[in-house]
């Protein structure tokens, strides 16, 4: 992040992509998009395209990594080579290793891991197109995929960033805002309880600014929570409808 002479907000308070300071980019979520995975979700968030798959609970390999008293949640965040303007070399880099680690830790909080000793619950997130905010998109999608997989959970995590650009506090930074802005705070939380499961911050904020940033991000998490629930509801009703149709078919016979 570097504050250059790029103008990110105009005199009317409108951002480069037309949003106001407290507006999210468009988000759409669909649960249950893959066949082989136990649970999955596809999420578009602005120009971010993210796919999440869940396998498990299943036996942990290698065995020495098993935890005898609970399941281990292993998230893997991966960017496709073509997901960024300059091709990314395939395979994990340090950034994705770190994101995978903090995602794993965040998700472990909501899963009832004690119910599955020695098991692993694997969450795979593929970023197919990236445009700022992929870790929040990934965490949001992973939560839905976990729910879709029927993993027992206390609640789901919603995630969104807020930050500072051109000296102003704004929600959900876009690509240029991320590159030229002054601070970015990705937040992951359980909206119903206010529990913070993921929190990072880079840049420069006073305490007062931090408070404004958090207010925006926490508010947005609640909205995203609703989108996640809606996606799961649609998924369940489809499953239900399929089931009912099957039942109907059976009756017809």
């Amino acid at each position: 992040m570097a504050d250059e002479d790029v103008k990110l907000i105009d005199e009317k308070g409108i951002r480069l992509d037309g949003r106001r300071f407290d507006e999210l980019r468009p988000i759409s979520i669909e649960a249950g998009v893959l066949k082989r995975a136990d649970g999955s979700a596809y999420l578009e968030w602005g120009e971010n395209k993210v796919l999440a798959a869940v396998y498990g609970p299943r036996e942990m390999h290698p065995r020495h990594a098993q935890n005898p008293s609970r399941a281990v949640v292993q998230a893997r965040y991966n960017m496709a080579a073509f997901s960024v303007p300059d091709r990314k070399r395939p395979g994990p880099d340090r950034r994705s290793v770190e994101i995978s680690k903090i995602m794993s830790e965040a998700l472990e909080e909501i899963v009832f891991v004690e119910q599955f000793p020695r098991a692993s619950i694997d969450v795979f997130v593929e970023v197919l197109e990236a445009s700022a905010g992929t870790r929040c998109a990934a965490l949001t999608a992973a939560s839905v995929a976990l729910a879709d997989a029927g993993i027992p959970m206390s609640d789901i995590i919603s995630s969104c960033a807020a930050g500072k650009i051109d000296g102003q506090i704004v929600l959900d930074l876009g690509k240029k805002e991320d590159n030229y802005g002054e601070a970015d705070v990705p937040l992951g939380m359980v909206p119903s309880s206010g529990k913070i499961t993921l929190l990072q911050m880079d840049g420069n904020l006073t305490l007062e600014e931090y408070k404004q940033v958090m207010e925006l991000a926490m508010g947005a998490c609640k909205k995203i929570y609703q989108l996640q629930r809606d996606a799961l509801k649609r998924r369940y009703s489809t499953s239900l409808k399929n089931f009912e149709e099957m039942a109907d078919d059976t009756e017809e016979v």
Binding site: K35, R36, A80, F82, F124
Partner: protein
Amino acid sequence: MKELISSITKDYLYRLIKDGKRLDGRGLLEHRKLDIETGWIGTAEGSARVHLGDTDVIVGVKMSTGEPFPDTPDRGVMITSAELIPMASPTYEAGPPREDATELARVVDRGIREGKVIDMTKLCIKEGEEVWLAFLDMHILDFDGNLFDACGIAAMAALLDSTVPAETFGFGEDYPLPIDHVVIPTTFYKIKEQIMLDARLEEEMISDARLTVGTNEKGEIVSMQKGLSGVFDYQDTLFCIEKSKEIGDSIRALMKK
């Protein structure tokens, strides 16, 4: 880890196949529903997502510039890679590319390269110094068998969708990636003396031998790859080549739409 199949399913499949039937009611030489969606990824120069039944793959093309190989100073360079990401199957694990992924990437690569799909001479910027590099990356999202065809078709579609980003690199106007031929691979599986097209996962798992044939729009054969530890005889290969031309033509027609 290997994909596992129960002996009951195995026996059931064998009995079906003996009668020329398949799990999903298809004919032996019929492929699954094929869905090709291009232009999907904004950050890529070209992209295609292909659903072949429940097999789901995405191929993205990225381009940049670099030095040509010394023996082809006036030609662009294509680099193909495949990732069998663990999202796609409970048996895939993260890590260095497995030999399956290597074979897949190389077979798709050869189909395009030996089929002279791209006119590489039009990807030369300055002879011997700078040429276009085209990176073709294949991601398997959902694995239900026959990655060779799904990826080969997606790769072809992604290339047809691609634009050379000349402007971004300061070399004049963007232009479509120059495509000379449309190569379509078709993969045949031999199970208990029966030959079938486009196996689903369970069928693939009990296959004795596999033969991929790539043909172009003139009906010429441009690549073949036999796999697995079973065998074909010479007549089998002639049969597969004939069928490959037919099916290739119908898929080429589909791609033009």
